[in-house]
Subunit: 313 residues, 2 copies
DNA sequence: GCAATCCTTGCTCATGTGAGCATGATAGTT
DNA sequence: AACTATCATGCTCACATGAGCAAGGATTGC
């Protein structure tokens, strides 16, 4: 971006730039039309870019913030990164928007023979609401119901089950039991075992991310945890959870609750080729970073402000 | 501009488009980086343009409306067309802006060995005020002073004369005489004759355009004209004047006043290779179109609203 | 006046790119 | 299951383009 050229030169450059970029003519055609040499045309086009007369505006027709998406992808080595350009109003609007975009993303990523794995969570509820059809036939619930309210926890699977041709593999159980033995008992149940057997076949997983510090997690609220549990886990540096996998800032996985959880294990999760997280909002930034650091995800759907903070950190 | 692609595809396209257009990488480089074939990259770039993810924005760093300039140029077969993007506020602000841009244009167009010809007029006064230096050595006044006020009519030459290294060839006379004999007498004056002798050497002319219908012309006001003159000329369909050349809507030149005028003749004017008109504002549209139709100009500086009306007509 | 310098211009040749085609996959239909 | 239409993919070959260079012209300094 140097000195602006004189007005006539600007007009000439603009003419050539329009012919080349907008009308798609070749430099040689333009040269013939204008009587210039093709080299001259090329240099004027260079000048058009340098002087800022042509600018390349790269923007999404929908509300995807492309620049942030690309940077996020490269920064955290993701295969799929989608940043939704929305103001961080309320948590609810963020979740709605992320849910809708995650639904779009699924429609794009999924193939017929994929097997989809889902966790519960409010963003995923929003996603389920936006889904009108699903290309794949099997949907596997990856974790028991996290929050205190069974009703909303089951909504994801309930909605997905209503779609044409979908075979659901639900988990009618809470995410956490109060002791290992109870969990073992639940896992032995035939219907739950059936679902667990699907974990290894899942090819695409979509999961919510819970934040323990600051607190924004349905798992944290789970009634099977007592205060001692929560304190102990926090003391071990846990800041985030995905499915029932607990993660610290440095990306280490804490296995404290493994034996008590009704969910896909860390190992099983990592075996899934495509693992997309859907989370956003200011309370989730630290948790998302932790989960990304742990390399638990291959994709992320988030909002623009969160993306910026992830990139800044 | 078809269906927007899915979010991930958008991100991929955005990435590729950024690499190609903004960072200037080749398709082959991008193909190697991303693992795609160069054809795939090419098709994604096509899609980027089609879907509107990349847009080519062509805009002036100064306030030149490039699109209109180009269209004006092509529509009227001009070599130089500059449309200044200003709201049509008062006549004065339009004249100021046109003057400043015309000065820029001169700085660009003029070479050392050019000989500049000027008429008088308010837009040209504004131009003279904006001129800080002039690359050429000889400036020739092409027409006597048009308006009733000698003072302002001479301002253009006065200002230009003050610039470094400029040799002025002024005409200290009114544009029109009351009869042919008086005009003949004036033309015989040695100093005026000297200036007239320069006409054939002038290479670049800048002229104001006067409008007779609607009325916005200093020439029309000239005291050497009586009401009968004015009526007769209007009856012959004259709508515009440049220097002392009268033009009708259809672009015909009316020679009614030739013998009485102290100015470059139509023939002499047409012999000048570069002839730039500077005029704008709603009252001048019809006059400008007439002068353009007469092919009296090779260039035009005007405002955006006037340009739009010229193109619309 | 002359040389040194810079800038502009258009060239060559290696490289990048587009049009059109053949191939293989996919989806819908009989 | 076979057939057809459609689409995506990657090829060839002709064409468009970029990097670097050499010639000409202008500018500057002595």
């Amino acid at each position: 971006m140097t000195e602006p050229p004189g007005p006539m030169r600007q007009v000439q450059i603009a003419h050539i730039a329009t012919e080349y970029y907008v009308h798609g003519k070749t430099r040689i055609e333009i040269a013939e039309q204008t009587g210039l040499s093709r080299f001259k045309v090329g240099r004027l086009l260079d000048e058009a870019v340098e002087s800022g007369i042509v600018r390349f505006e790269i923007s999404s027709p929908s509300n995807v913030s492309l620049d942030l998406s690309v940077r996020l992808r490269e920064r955290f080595g993701l295969d799929h990164a989608v940043v939704v350009a929305i103001p961080t109003d309320s948590e609810v609007t963020v979740q709605e928007a992320l849910g809708a975009t995650t639904a779009d993303l699924l429609g794009e990523v999924l193939a017929d023979d994929d097997i989809l794995g889902l966790t519960s969570g409010r963003t995923l509820n929003a996603m389920a609401r936006s889904l009108t059809s699903l290309r794949c036939h099997n949907v596997v619930q990856l974790a028991g119901v996290a929050g205190p309210i069974q009703q909303s926890g089951l909504e994801v699977m309930r909605r997905v089950s209503m779609l044409d041709g979908v075979r659901p593999w639900p988990i009618y159980a809470s995410l956490l039991m109060s002791d290992a033995q109870a969990a073992e008992g639940v896992r032995r149940q035939p219907d739950i075992r059936q679902t667990f057997d699907q974990f290894s076949r899942v090819t695409v997983a979509v999961g919510a991310i819970g934040s323990w510090v600051p607190r924004n997690s349905l798992m944290y609220e789970n009634r099977a945890l007592n205060d001692a549990d929560r304190r102990r886990i926090l003391d071990r540096g846990v800041v985030a959870e995905i499915a029932a996998t607990l993660v610290t800032d440095s990306g280490e996985v804490v296995h404290d609750l493994d034996s008590r959880s009704i969910a896909v294990s860390e190992k099983q999760l990592r075996a899934i080729p495509t693992r997309i997280g859907a989370a956003g909002g200011p309370t989730k930034v630290r948790a998302i970073r932790a989960v990304l650091t742990a390399k638990l995800l291959t994709g992320l759907v988030t909002d623009s402000e969160t993306a910026q903070q992830l990139l800044a950190g």
